[in-house]
Amino acid sequence: MSEIGNYLPTILSGLNMTLGVFFVTIIGSIPLGIIVALAMRSQYFMLRWFVNGYIWIMRGTPLLLQLIFVYYGLGMIGITFSRFNAVAFAFIINYAAYLAEIFRGGIQAIPQGQFEAAQVLGLSKTQSFFKVILPQVIKIVVPAFGNEVINLVKDTSLVYVIGLGDILRAGTIAASRDVSLIPYLIVGVVYLIMIAIVTLALRASEKKLNTWR
């Protein structure tokens, strides 16, 4: 137990980074994902072509590679980011692509009659989307969205590749220094606790959304 107590402060020192990446990605990727989903339904061919290309690249290459490209690759052509901003940018554009596909599926699942009813009542397109369509889409996409959020918790560990210190990196340093697996065990438990909290939050929101069908 005392060993765990010794390692815990070191490992938790990386928690700020893990949570920072997590929340920044959630806050940035949800609105961007909605915008991309709407762009995928645009009447403009070029816009649809552009966003489909973007999604193809984001989903077709590893996030790790995208992270390296944003920090090192763009730096070579003069576009430089701080380490954290590079992580935030790469994570947001990656997760927005996955969320866009989820939102697109959700929007497609809304019966045409809902769009028509909103239009006949005189609602503008913006009012229809935010007051009629989006609340129904949210209910549909919560389970798939939950999977992405859980993946995100674990993907935050990729920030080590550009030298940022999250909980896994803190655990790795401690494990190498003391030749012990206990830091990794603690890291695993911290991830499980984070996933449990996210899962409970998602279940609570699903339950709240079940007041209507």
Binding site: Q114, E116, A117, K131
Partner: protein
């Protein structure tokens, strides 16, 4: 009063109706009858702006508009065949949504209007329920209340009795006749002959009219 003049609609080369004209008088119930699939619902979609038409004019209360003018749909309330209530909103919220967002009416004024409509249509007890908690007949009444809340000049019903049991059909009939007494002009698209015979002041034979025009 609403007059449709020379309304034409086609999909590619397929003519749905051509030079269609009809008149709905003030406080009248006009039934538009004909078999399924001949374009009755298309006519409704054209009038409410959900579909474009090739040509035609609509006169409402002395003002004439070219078909496609948003002013037409603003003066028409539509009760959909499947009701199309918003499932995430309660009965009250379904009725209040458009008056608040579109007409920008004060919340207090809208609440008062909603309560009047709930009472008028006998659904006060269902005010805080969601659509999935309602029977077919109750959903129909909410859909009517939602249309009435916008104070339309004309209410159009698309197959209002389809999927309703006998009791609910009778309730819809009573509501229509009560609205007629209040001077509301109503157009009912249906192929339910017994129902049409009970409510109609005038009947428009859709099939006969479009065949006549096509043969000209």
């Amino acid at each position: 009063m609403m007059k449709l003049k020379n309304l034409s609609k086609q999909y590619g080369d397929n003519v749905i109706f051509k030079n269609l004209s009809l008149e709905l008088k003030d406080g009248e119930i006009l039934t538009v009858m004909g078999p399924s699939g001949i374009g009755k619902t298309t006519l409704i979609k054209v009038l409410t702006g959900l579909e474009e038409a090739e040509a035609g004019q609509v006169e409402i209360n002395g003002n004439e508009y070219e078909i496609g003018d948003p002013a037409i749909s603003e003066q028409i309330g539509l009760v959909f065949q499947d009701f199309n209530l918003f499932p995430h909103l309660t009965v009250k919220e379904n009725i209040a949504l458009a008056p608040v967002l579109v007409k920008k009416r004060a919340k207090q004024e809208v609440d008062q209007k909603v309560n009047e409509l709930l009472k008028q249509l006998g659904i006060t007890e269902q005010a805080d329920l969601y659509p999935y908690q309602l029977s077919g007949g109750q959903k129909q009444r909410v859909a009517i209340a939602r249309a009435l809340a916008m104070n339309p000049e004309v209410i159009i019903y698309d197959e209002p009795t389809s999927g309703l049991d006998e009791k609910s059909t009778e309730q819809v009939e009573k509501i229509m006749l009560a609205l007629k007494k209040e001077g509301v002009s109503q157009m009912v698209v249906t192929h339910d002959l017994p129902f049409a015979e009970k409510v109609a002041d005038t009947n428009f034979d859709f099939l006969k009219e479009i065949e006549n025009e096509k043969n000209k």
